[in-house]
């Protein structure tokens, strides 16, 4: 099992290959549909004018994401009233919903790692080669176990998106995942998709 510390160096990224199990440690930021849409519309494509705390949040997340990791996760969080936040359950959510945004977001912020489940498509794979970066697959549903690797909730941005959609900044230790898309252009998901399609065609031809 390979240890990967965040921020991740280019050298470490290049050494990672599809199928490698890893344990991640360091600071990461959660983000899913609302966060990706917000980042792209407000700052990357700039089709929407920043309002309220937009600029300030942008300035604060930039250094966190530079060389860093974004985690597709909508956690269950306790301590919402007292603001003593604690992650109770924090497994990955389906990543494909971010496919239209992810590549641009990776390039803009220099994000080296994307964690989620279900894998992503060709646009993100291309960004993984360019930036360079990798896609880490966490075990879907392993929410209590992953929450144990979260040492601390450092802060939260955009809580007005709702608890699942907010951008939570968390410090993790030994967060378990598997590399399923690497910086060398390989994707386990594309491979399994095509092999299973041939297997299906075989089974359908039998009938």
């Amino acid at each position: 099992m390979q240890q990967v510390s965040i921020p991740i160096s280019d050298e470490a990224i290049h050494s990672l290959k599809v199928g490698d199990p890893v344990l991640l440690s360091g600071t990461m930021v959660t983000g899913r549909d609302a966060a990706h849409k917000w980042m792209v519309e407000t700052f990357i494509k700039a089709t929407r004018t920043p309002i309220d705390d937009d600029q300030q949040v942008y300035q604060e997340i930039k250094p966190l994401l530079d060389g860093g990791v974004i985690y597709h996760c909508g956690p269950v969080v306790s301590g919402l009233d007292s603001q003593e936040y604690k992650f109770v359950a924090a497994g990955p959510t389906t990543s494909t919903r971010e496919e239209p945004y992810q590549g641009d977001v990776m390039r803009h912020f220099n994000i080296k790692g994307v964690i989620g489940k279900g894998g992503m498509g060709a646009k993100t794979l291309a960004a993984c080669q360019e930036v360079p970066g990798v896609y880490f697959h966490a075990v879907g549903g392993a929410a209590s176990l992953i929450a144990q690797s979260v040492l601390e909730v450092t802060t939260v941005y955009k809580l007005d998106f709702g608890v699942p959609e907010a951008m939570w900044v968390i410090r993790v230790e030994d967060f378990p995942a598997v590399v399923t898309m690497d910086a060398h252009g390989s994707s386990l998901h594309a491979e399994i998709e095509s092999e299973s399609r041939s297997a299906l065609e075989g089974l359908l031809a039998e009938s």
Partner: protein, 290 residues
């Protein structure tokens, strides 16, 4: 009428944090199928560790605690209006206690209600008056990842060579499993309804998932198809989480509904490995859980 708010709160806690024994058994069997050292086996090991941890700490097995779907079978004399109020109040309390994640989002404004109370379908409650003196409430928590890979087919489907018979059902169901890949958090469980209209068909495909994982279908033809679909799905090589491997599906449950002569729907509800369903029974004011 007895106030069921507290007992229902416990039903929710149990369902969200404690995976039923038949499902855990299925996952342990799956683990034996996968080769040591492969990502598929690692994923199942992580899943089983997580199941233990969630049970011990009384924390949600998965952070997506899904749509809470209640099936209430009640004897004569119970008020469905009051039971609905009590269910809603228990759901809001369970959210406050972090057994459930706030999941009810207004589709137009995008606003999350914060307490899992939405319109009349959120939480979803099915009421049915039954004979006898026992009140049964089944709760199923169905997450979004697996709900999104569910599918409905209108047969015949020439692309998949699927006619209006069980052989056709088999073809479209396998297509649904292939399209789902690992995205519904495989290994999954298939709930399949044949017939009905589009709406009743999907409802039935979920309800059939209340069956025990290791039971058999009383209809021998459907029973055979259940076995066949599980075996053939596992030949697709998708595996746990879509990492590749031998266990893509843990089981298949099929039901049939009357249909119009003109229609032949097949609905596939995909349930993830976090197959959370529990039952509570009230008899002579005594509450028990299964």
């Amino acid at each position: 009428m007895q106030d069921l708010t507290e007992p229902i709160l416990e039903l929710i806690r149990l369902t969200a944090t404690n995976l039923p024994p038949d499902v855990e058994e299925g996952l342990r069997d799956a683990l034996q199928q996968e080769e040591p050292g492969f990502a598929a086996r690692g994923a199942l090991e992580t899943i089983l560790k997580n199941v233990d941890m969630a049970r011990e700490n009384s924390t949600p097995i998965c952070q997506d605690t899904g749509t809470p779907i209640f099936y209430v079978n009640y004897p004569e004399g119970w008020s469905t209006r009051r039971m609905r109020e009590q269910i809603k109040s228990a759901v809001a309390q369970a959210t406050d206690k972090s057994y459930l994640r706030p999941n009810a989002v207004d589709s137009i404004s995008g606003v999350n209600s914060g307490d899992n109370i939405g319109d009349e379908h959120f939480p979803t409650i099915h009421f049915e008056e039954i004979e006898g003196d026992e009140l049964q409430i089944d709760l199923m928590l169905k997450g979004g990842g697996c709900e999104n890979v569910g599918a409905q087919y209108s047969l015949p489907n020439s692309e998949l060579g699927a006619g209006r018979d069980l052989a056709g059902v088999r073809n479209v169901a396998l297509d649904a499993v292939q399209k789902a890949q690992g995205k519904g958090c495989a290994p999954g469980i298939l709930g399949i309804a044949i017939g009905g209209d589009r709406g009743s068909s999907f409802v039935a495909s979920k309800e059939v998932l209340l069956r025990q994982l290791d039971d058999s279908n009383p209809n021998p033809e459907m029973n055979d198809l259940e076995q066949q679909l599980t075996e053939e799905s596992n030949q697709l090589g998708i595996g746990p989480m879509g990492f590749g491997g031998k266990t893509t599906v843990l089981g298949t449950k099929i039901t049939s509904k009357h249909r119009l002569p003109a229609s032949y729907f097949v609905s596939v509800s995909y349930m993830c490995w976090a197959y959370r369903r529990r039952q509570m029974v009230v008899k002579n004011d005594q509450v028990s859980y299964q």
